[in-house]
């Protein structure tokens, strides 16, 4: 499954700009950034409810393929701008974390 495949699912909304497509290695779920930092696999689709600037820093450093902000948690415009600057792909969904990750996992 590629990141672009997420775009075609109506439960997910792309918050950031057009992107260079990339393969997703697996879904990864975690809200504690210190743990995500140590464990998020490179290329994974990171599903979380933690939406702040540090989430973006962790995403860059672990080289995940994209972030999915679950549970309809808001991701403000300043964060979207920052994600765009750093070429981080961010989706939002109203689904719970597990349901969102299960959809990504099923597509792999």
């Amino acid at each position: 499954m590629k990141v672009s495949d997420i775009c075609s699912n109506k439960d997910f909304k792309l918050l950031t700009k057009d992107f260079e497509d990339r393969e997703i290695s697996k879904p990864f779920c975690c809200d504690l950034l210190s743990i995500a930092m140590g464990k998020a696999p490179a290329g994974s689709c990171w599903v979380t409810v933690m939406a702040n600037a540090n989430t973006l820093a962790v995403a860059t450093l672990t080289d995940v393929s994209c972030i999915v902000i679950a549970e309809g948690i808001s991701f403000d415009d300043a964060l979207i701008d920052k994600a765009n600057e750093e070429d981080i792909i961010v989706f939002s969904t109203s689904l719970p974390v597990y349901d969102a990750a299960a959809i990504v996992g099923a597509g792999l």
Partner: protein
Amino acid sequence: MPDVMELVYEVSNEDFTRAGEASSDVKRKLKKLGIPSDVIRRVSIALYEGEINMVIHAYGGKVTVTISEEAITMVLADKGPGIPDIDKAMEAGYSTAPDNVRNLGFGAGMGLPNMKKNSDEMNIETQIGVGTTVTMTVKL
């Protein structure tokens, strides 16, 4: 590539959400130098955890990164309160981080263990009331 390259960053303690500027910049530079991606990932993770610690547990500080043919060395020096018991601080899950930091997803007590795991060598020098210097090396 020059024999040795040195990068220096001031880490400010004013804005916790901005922590990570040094590690992001180092990551970009290592990528340009063609350093293997697993090495970049380890350096980035170790450095970011170190930066976060300087911001939440000390009052910011200075990061010096040296890149040579053999290794990447990171020195994180702060003038913070120091660490009373290093063995305890190194335990996974031990944390004195305040609630506002926990609410942002940090303070799980995994920082120092992550730093140790991702570096080939790690050394902590600390003095109560004076500061802490963490030195980490990742071999190339």
